[in-house]
């Protein structure tokens, strides 16, 4: 159970990070339509990279370097593929899903640390 929670946390942070990085790019921001107030904003890039760095810190802290990095890259692949699917076929959902993950990531991490 504990490992499920940590897996979920890693995935959510990875998705939030990759989603932010994707939306920070001008070429993808154009795919969003009239929702693009925040997309393409360079701050998103920093947010994305920080979430990924944070995710590495969490996963290495929890699982150790070896299994931690393996898990990080695996989760990141899975999250990135979904980001690509969404920006291609449901670009707006990517905005909502990324927002949700950016918000949920720290909360889940908090839960995980407290529990």
């Amino acid at each position: 159970m504990e490992s499920m929670l940590s897996s979920l946390t890693e995935w959510v942070l990875g998705f939030g990070g990759m989603g932010s990085l994707c939306l920070s790019m001008k070429s993808h921001a154009r795919q969003i339509g009239n929702l693009n107030h925040w997309t393409g904003w360079p701050g998103l890039k920093w947010l994305g990279w920080s979430l990924l760095a944070f995710s590495i810190a969490i996963v290495v802290g929890v699982r150790g370097w070896g299994p931690g990095l393996v898990s990080f890259f695996g989760m990141l692949s899975a999250a990135t593929l979904l980001v690509i699917a969404l920006i291609t076929y449901r670009p707006r959902w990517l905005v909502y899903a990324s927002l949700a993950c950016v918000a949920a990531g720290p909360i889940l991490t908090g839960f995980y640390v407290l529990l």
């Binding site: 490992s3 299994p67 898990s71 695996g74 692949s77």
Partner: protein, 563 residues
Amino acid sequence: MTLTSVGKGISDFLRAGGPPKADGPPAGGFRQAMSWLHTWVGLTLGWVLFFIFLTGTVGYFDTEIDRWMQPELPQAQIGLDSTDTAEVLLDRLRVEAPGADRWFLTLPAGRHQPYPGIFWQGASIKAGASATSGELPVNGNTGEPFVARDTGGGQWLYQMHWRLHYLSRTQADIIVGFATMFMLVALITGIIVHKKIFRDFFTFRPGKGQRSWLDAHNVLSVVALPFHLMITYSGLIFMGFSYMPLIVAAHYGVDDEARQQFISEVFDPPGLVAPTGESAPLVPLDDLIAVAEERWGEHRIRSIDIRHPGDSNARIIFYENIERRVSSGGERLMFDGVSGKLLHRVPPATSAAKGARDLFVGLHEGLFAPPVLRWLFFFSGLLGSGMIATGLVLWAVKRRQRMEKTHSLPHLGLRLVEKLNVGTVVGLPIGIAAYFWANRLLPVASVGRADWEVNLMFLAWLMMLVHAACRPNHRAWIEQLAIAGFAFGSLPLLNLLTTDRHLWHSLAVNDWVFVGFDLTVLTVGLMSGWAAWRVWQKRPLIDAGGISIKQGKSAQQLPGEQL
């Protein structure tokens, strides 16, 4: 087909790709040269690589497949008391293998070893042994050997990815070695050739023919690039002793004995001794188990290896379970088999070089991975298989598009690649499905059953290659995807009809291995069916003998668009 037309076909084939005039001379710069290398290194052994990747990927669930393929066996016996189980196994060895040089006890320590088991070498038939060497899973509760259908199970499916099943060890090593080397070159040149690796990181443009295939190929490669590099490089490390034999030969010599000495120095624990021939009773295992569990924790003994049982020079080696670290191999404890004295504590890696090797081997095998991580390994392997498949399809799509522009007929090379693509990218999975079908349908008592399961797998694959050769290319994709959809999608039904461990039953008793297998093949079946339907929707308007004639935009849609 006459010899001259074959000759012409081959020359066309080479002209269409070789350092080709049509593609612009490779002298155009470093990147073009790398692009040429990427194309040809990827294509030449691409289908072998697809086979290696896919069967290896399936192999991440080898034990789970083993269990599905022997439905007679009960649920896993993980967590039985170590002392009792060892006693039960030792009794069984005394019956099956008296006078053996080596007794090996496997304890049900976790996912890789769901049942207790024994293995022995050099037993004496005269003293009543059932065979000089053998291997048996044993019921930890009753002490009786399990009786289950004869099958290669997930193990054979997994071992195929480097043993290539029908070939000798040497032949397989050479082919797999070249394929892996080609893969590494393809990955590195691919990174060099990919101009906009960051800018196009999230880019997939569907419905644009060749462009879409290139995007898909890039996405599948880049998204799991760390995995692809790791799995390919570690694959080479795995076989290092075979691929670089001169290094060993320089230090130890060239004959088999010298090689054996090297292997035993690297892998055997120190302090193994020859038997004296004087008999002495084997020390009871209880105390030794207590020492090992004290050190490693309860249920963390993976196996107990007894060398020369009953001899005054007997040695007993305990192996630690491996689930806590990425590197392959755990700690070993060596005891005197008569006095029970702890002689050596052998660390997992005896040198930095061995440690590095073990790390790569451990990463490649993923034995340490708990369920979620195991699924990620499987998923990354699928991405790798998809990367190879899209690369192969891209090769064909690019040339067909160019050919349609110039209104020329497809040359033999292009048609060959197109047919091999369908027959392997979809045909091989159909072969794997046939392997599972054979497991349920071949009579349980038939002779050579395990071999026939595999033969049927390769026969089914061969039939798909023949089918691809006979049908127009686009039809072949649709039909084979539909066959794959049926073959995988109906496996849970087949399981329901031929065993009493159907999906509802598995769900009711929390048998997650069976639930996982049934649901996974069902998902694969549904996705294949869906892909068949999508390709059918996008079929070219005129379809004659494998030549699709351009009709508006539809000719841009290429076979297997949605794969």
